[in-house]
Symmetry: D2
């Protein structure tokens, strides 16, 4: 690709994604509000702009990877937002995990200016971001997705088209709600088993090849020492933070309120992660829910 | 193997297990309290005894596969129970899913008579029972497991030794508690997604390769039409009944009460399956929880 | 009082409240979007205006009692809203139960025009509305409350000042969240007791003088036949609808999400009322949760 | 009364109950396994026996007030138990809160020896025990209750006959399950309100006269400083311990499992009190659940 791409948001996910895009031959203009993040990006060889607007100048594509709805609104909307200056025909890909309603509001504003927009939140974590094997969960028009496909393939492997604008976010929230519950019930099972004298490692190995298997038994086991590479085995450092899971579960609950849906396990899990945060583990990996539910 | 084996309990799981044992060259004396089950066993070429005691005569091994704790107690304990007549050195393998405390009581009675006993509940369902690919989740002395290994290998593939007597049951309950919660939260996710206009099949396909993946997204998807072979696509017939899951979750809760453990998601799931049963779906596959939580 | 009062919203609560105000000597100009409600109001002797704006002409006070946030926004905000025409110094009392954030938005718009505003949701139901014994749960400036006090006393008995704008709504939601949970756990207790052969009436009588007592045991018992005047004894007709409780619990959950608060029982109750609605009891009294949780 | 009564169990509840019986003119032979408790009883003027058997010699009535099922079994059953020596016609009143199944087992053993037995757990706490205003929640034959009535009236005010043997325990568990949930949701409501800037005292006062009212708002408010006499205002000391509530909720869940009943809120509350215990507050008053759910 020889496209010029503005990449806004250079955190743990955004930075490796931007680097992967540059490796495909694209010209990347990167930006982050944190000067620390910008420095790190420069060290990795990215061209860093002085502002989001400067990054977007001359770019055919804008990719954003930001923490929450308010950052996305602030980037695109209002008199200072990018949509006030992007030319018609620009392609905007927002890979943040945010409220479907926010995505839809931004997409409407984009459409009003002839800007093409996708919501494309990802699955795969920092490992997938670095390896370029992310899964993109996309909402927006099919034709826009086709235009964006080469860009997405520069950062990931699987692409799922979930429906219209916002559908990518809804699907991501559905997945993460399931994940949050699955992690917590795995922690319950390990606490229950060990309370009866079982070895957490053997129990996990059995479950990992049985009907109770999941990403929590196989990849990110919450019990310390079961998997050497899991956050649980390094004091729950790194990984996907408890408060990020709490945010995603809050967005899922909001989506459920909007649709009048019943998500009793999802809502209970939200409360468990809230209690885990109250107990001082908000910044640890979300598998630290094991500490709340029972651990040695 | 040329062992003589008494096999008690010829239901949907027990019958194919007994047939597989016979295929290994063992002599199988089968029995079930239901004459209908005995007839079916005879049609499949098994030798059927007139009673559990008659089946056990001359058998070096007794395998039992029964519905609930009370049936296991009734088979082995009391003046009429098998333990009153089994010679010392007989190997007893109980593959029922029952309360750990019941297993331990029977194992104590067995030990008092020199009978060797394992609890060896299984994972893999009727498909695994027929194919001889069950996973055995074993509790009891390691030496007893070694003696039993050839018999277990005649019916299954994986064998996990979880610890002392009862540990197999505890581990099975941990797995099934996780499974019950995972199925229900998958149903919540599919209901939430479709309420926002997503296609359940595409959402399931995305989740099946993402962090929300599980046996419920891949093998037994609860949304009708997503997987052709899943119970959901045939009116929730067949499979693992709602009331069996309710029973297993009840046993898990009992185990949690005994250990003072917190299993909030497990206990909430128990109540959801109880409500699903109250709504008339007790005999359907447990993935019919989708009907309770939201379905077209 | 000789005040002229515009009263908007003549439903089951609003109509008797407006009538009580007229009895104090005020001139009431009533209005409702439903012509049926207007007819009923005329039959009861109220002066009915042709529009909300006409009702508000010359009124020193506007009282509104509407179903949901969007109705309140629509009444007051925008080019067609009342705030565009109300003179500075007018007193606005909104007694609807709505989102605190909506109240705050309307109050800000009111303040910008010099209009004084209170949120004053009520407790006491249709019985209290008719008898003039409502409790007002008030948010807004203390001086505005003093100005409004004679009007509120024309419709109710107790007045609680909870804090600034929106505080009345937050407090109302706290109360109703507790109520929703208390009703449901009372239903659980009655189902559990009767499943063990207890008589629901005797059990209720005991609880009503013990530590488990509540409005649900004493006034609105969910078990049919325990209290002759309760909705449960007339097929759950009348009373406070399941879907209204569901709405209030949704608002409470939203308030919890906004504050990062843990309300596990409140959120579980929300899901139980959602399941009760899905089972076809959305229009029945919320004590029909007994039917979901177990009843003869 | 001139009856001779053996009183077994001289804890915070039993001791004042025994003293009240003595005040009615009865001869009380008291006993407790703790010598400390016996000393305290002697200081209050009670006659203390050297063993439960010695206390029961010549007594027409035995009253027991013990911590858990196993203590009651140990007191009455087995070769060393009281039932082995009590003459036919003796009246046994067990006021402990224990499993209904235990009560029924003891009652059957009693009946086999011609001993009359009631389960008569109480409501009213240490305050009610001291004042002689306890409520007795009774299971057993009506004729036995009539025989016991004068004794019960010596210790309490209200007597509810709930049904056959065990029914008193079931009813007590229903009440306490409701209480445990009500306390926790009151704590949720206070945490939610204060997170939005409300004053816990004003919020409690409003709720106490509204539909959310309960023993938790009026008598044992969980927020420090709202009620001067509540445990919350003295560091959650005294009162009804978290782990006692956890025990009672465990018994309620067991009763629900036995009956196939759905008690989702009761089971969630059990888990919340288990988490509160894990957080180190097991010995504090159960209103310390406020600390788990959110407090300043």
């Amino acid at each position: 690709m020889s496209t010029t791409i503005a990449f806004i948001g250079l955190g743990q996910m955004g930075l490796p994604m931007a680097c992967n895009l540059q490796k495909t031959g694209c010209t990347v203009h990167a930006f982050d509000l944190s000067s620390q993040a910008c420095t790190k990006a420069r060290e990795l060889g990215l061209g860093v702009a002085a502002s989001a607007r400067e990054a977007a100048e001359g770019a055919a594509v804008v990719v954003s990877m930001l923490p929450a709805s308010r950052h996305v609104e602030s980037l695109y909307l209002g008199d200072d937002g990018l949509l006030a200056v992007l030319p018609a025909g620009t392609l905007v890909i927002d890979s943040s995990t945010i409220a479907p309603a926010t995505v839809q509001a931004v997409a409407r504003a984009a459409a009003a200016r002839g800007v093409l927009m996708l919501d494309a939140p990802v699955s795969g974590g920092t490992v997938g971001a670095a390896a370029g094997t992310l899964t993109f969960i996309v909402g927006g028009p099919a034709s826009t997705l086709e235009a964006a496909r080469p860009v997405l393939q520069g950062m990931g492997k699987n692409i799922f088209h979930m429906g219209d604008s916002g559908a990518g976010q809804v699907a991501k929230l559905c997945n993460n709600m399931a994940l949050g519950v699955i992690m917590a019930v795995t922690a319950e099972a390990l606490a229950l088993g060990t309370a009866h004298g079982l070895d957490a490692k053997v129990l996990s190995q059995m479950m990992a090849v049985s009907t109770g298997r999941s990403w929590a038994t196989e990849v990110c086991n919450p019990w310390p020492g079961v998997l050497d590479n899991a956050p649980a085995s390094r004091g729950y450092g790194g990984g996907f933070g408890n408060d990020l899971m709490l945010k995603d579960l809050g967005l899922a609950v909001e989506a459920a309120l909007g649709a009048g849906a019943a998500v009793p396990l999802g809502e209970l899990a939200r409360n468990l992660y809230a209690l885990n945060s109250r107990a001082g583990r908000g910044q640890l990996d979300f598998s630290s829910i094991q500490q709340l539910l029972g651990a040695k």
